[in-house]
């Protein structure tokens, strides 16, 4: 069980503490954080409520500039489009900047099977790619590793001459190796943080410069993005950019806020000759149709809910087994991948509500977890034994005397069981509780008994 892996827990705790400090500093740079959240919620609500209109506006402008837009209904269509494009244009090497959607549709294996070498260029993604594991966190993919583990990885997979675990040295090594890839690759694949409808551009927020290189040097630029990334106006970025940076990393703004609307224009010094935007649906339009949970599409993938979630802090990103971990992953995945298989994620929460309180676009994540639980029971996706237990519970709760008698019986039974020294054994109904905690108190009298006895008279 990951939460028992203390080394792992310590690394995560340190990472989270450092985020907490940075986040507070970032928040202090925004005069009215609640007003910022409100504004961001309004922008996304407007975008999602008129999704078709804004997406068409975006598409029109991109096409007018010589770009291509492909509407992919699902993962398969998206992957096939990119693979066919690459093989048709003789692509042998791809450089990729960070995109959770490409993780979601599992694009890299499709390209690799077609004989194309794919380089993840975001440092965290590069690291987990070498380890052949999925990203641990949607913003900091390799936060579960310490520098020693990364140095060893580089030594084994990249260059046996690597002899230091200093982060500066390791970054320089990665830069040296990836630079060759940037200049050799025929195709650059990026995601998009936002699609701007009125300007017809994609917006990418990055820090490393790898996304910049992927979208500047190779002759083909492909953007893979979810349809829900659309926003109405360029000016909306004036509040979305700082809020995304603050929630994601505690920065005032990310180093690069890149806007690209098409292939290079005549007279420009450089830039891709072909520009393709793949708009991925993959279950999003179904969520759009759900009036109760539609706001989940407002998510700007900042990662703040992961960072604050005590469950995530204890078990980490890989335990979820989904593309998107943390509270947003638990809420979203049943909609994208089916309630029966992924409902357990909505139950893996104490419903503390910290995620809702921190979400910069004010998605009430905790409430949606509860709704998913309700949806799961109504879809018959829970154990029948549990359904029976609650049927019996309900029967008792409607009958005060039965409730009182039931409570008395349970206390009596437990007292007998513990008196016989059977706590923690198979005969102890509280054995799961007692695994981590000393047994609950067993008072001889319930409150109602005491009330009747000597508290009732005022």
């Amino acid at each position: 069980m990951k939460s028992a892996d203390l080394v792992h827990r310590e690394i995560i705790q340190r990472g989270m503490d450092s985020y907490d400090v940075a986040h507070l500093k970032g928040r202090a740079r925004i005069k009215d954080w609640e007003a910022a959240r409100q504004k961001c919620q309004e922008i996304k609500r407007e975008a999602i409520n008129h999704l078709d209109r804004y997406l068409l506006q975006f598409e029109e402008k991109v096409i007018a500039r010589g770009g291509h837009v492909f509407w992919a209904a699902n993962s398969e269509e998206a992957c096939t489009y990119v693979k066919n494009l690459a093989t048709r244009l003789g692509v042998r090497t791809v450089v990729k900047s960070k995109s959770m959607v490409t993780e979601e549709i599992q694009l890299s294996p499709v390209l690799e099977k077609a004989g194309i070498k794919v380089w993840e260029t975001d440092l965290g993604e590069f690291i987990v790619q070498l380890r052949e594991e999925p990203p641990y966190h949607i913003v900091t993919p390799a936060m579960h590793l310490n520098r020693g583990q990364i140095a060893k990885l580089f030594r084994e997979k990249l260059d046996p001459a690597i002899d230091s675990d200093d982060p500066v040295y390791l970054m320089a090594a990665a830069r040296r190796i990836l630079r060759k890839a940037f200049f050799a690759a025929e195709m650059g694949i990026s995601g998009a943080n936002f699609l701007v409808a009125d300007a017809g551009v994609i917006a990418i927020s990055t820090n490393e410069g790898n996304g910049r290189l992927c979208t500047s040097i190779p002759r083909i630029h492909v953007v893979v993005t979810g349809i829900e990334k659309i926003i109405p106006r360029l000016e909306d970025l004036a509040v979305l950019w700082p809020v995304l940076a603050t929630s994601g990393t505690g920065q005032g703004i990310t180093t690069y806020g890149t806007l690209i609307g098409g292939p290079r224009r005549p007279g420009e010094v450089d830039g891709a000759e072909e520009f393709h935007v793949v708009l991925v649906d993959n279950g999003r339009s179904q969520l759009l149709a759900d009036a109760e949970q539609r706001e989940v599409l407002h998510c700007i993938r900042c990662g703040a809910c992961l960072n604050i979630c005590p469950v995530f802090r204890h078990v980490g990103g890989h335990t979820y087994g989904t593309t998107y971990p943390g509270p947003i992953g638990s809420v979203l995945t049943p909609h994208l991948n089916g309630i029966k298989e992924f409902k357990h994620l909505s139950y893996a929460s104490s419903l503390c509500g910290a995620c809702s309180s921190v979400c910069p676009v004010k998605i009430d994540l905790a409430h949606h977890l509860l709704q998913n639980r309700r949806n799961a029971t109504e879809a018959g996706a829970t154990k029948s034994s549990e359904r029976l237990i609650f049927r019996a519970w309900r029967y008792a709760m409607l009958r005060p005397r039965m409730y009182a008698l039931g409570g008395w019986s349970v206390r009596k039974a437990l007292r007998i069981i513990y008196g016989l020294g059977l706590a923690g054994t198979i005969l102890d109904p509280m054995r799961v509780w007692n695994r981590y905690r000393s047994p609950v108190p067993l008072p001889s009298e319930s409150f109602r008994a005491r009330w009747r006895k000597d508290l009732g008279t005022n």
Partner: protein, 188 residues
């Protein structure tokens, strides 16, 4: 923009705010009084760099500046093509400077996409007249002047490239420039 004023603090002294933000962004910002001083500053920065090609945006203003600075370095003008893989420095103009976040706004017209990311040192030559108070103003101007119709690319750059992917420790200089230098001339 109305809501921008509610959400962010008002910026009363843009120049001061820009300089403060540059410090926080790990950017270098030097104020110069005139083009002679700017040329001297440019020369100083270039001399501090290892041997190698300097890529410069082909623009009359920069042609004059380079002439004044007379650096003993190979110059590749943007009209000759994109910066090479081994470029040590790029020199460009900017569309605007943004005080709120300590940013420079560049477009494809400022020497192309690679000019602000390929070399380890990116030098921006700008004047105080180009300073706007906030992101809202800068983006609004981009919209009004239809910059994204005449340019396939624009970028708001707020510092040197960096990463915190290893143990959340900040490393300056990732795949992009390690140094972002702004030569900010007070008189036009």
């Amino acid at each position: 923009m109305q809501s921008g004023q509610v959400i962010f603090d008002a910026i009363n002294n843009p120049l001061e705010r820009f300089q403060q933000e540059c410090v926080g962004n790990l950017m270098e910002c030097t104020l110069t009084a005139d083009s002679a001083a700017s040329a001297r500053q440019l020369s100083k920065v270039l001399q501090s760099l290892p041997e190698g090609e300097t890529f410069v945006q082909d623009d009359p203003t920069l042609r004059r500046l380079i002439e004044l600075a007379a650096p003993a370095r190979a110059i590749r003008w943007s009209s000759q093509g994109a910066p090479g893989e081994a470029s040590q420095a790029t020199v460009t103009l900017a569309e605007a400077l943004i005080a709120q976040t300590g940013s420079i706004l560049v477009t494809a017209a400022c020497g192309g996409r690679g000019a602000s990311v390929i070399a380890p040192c990116h030098i921006v030559y700008a004047t105080v007249a180009q300073l706007v108070p906030d992101l809202a103003t800068a983006l609004s101007r981009v919209s009004q002047e239809r910059k994204l119709d005449s340019n396939s690319f624009a970028c708001v750059i707020s510092g040197s490239s960096r990463t915190a992917d290893i143990e959340k420790i900040l490393v300056q200089g990732a795949h992009g420039p390690r140094r972002l230098v702004v030569v900010l001339q007070t008189a036009t």
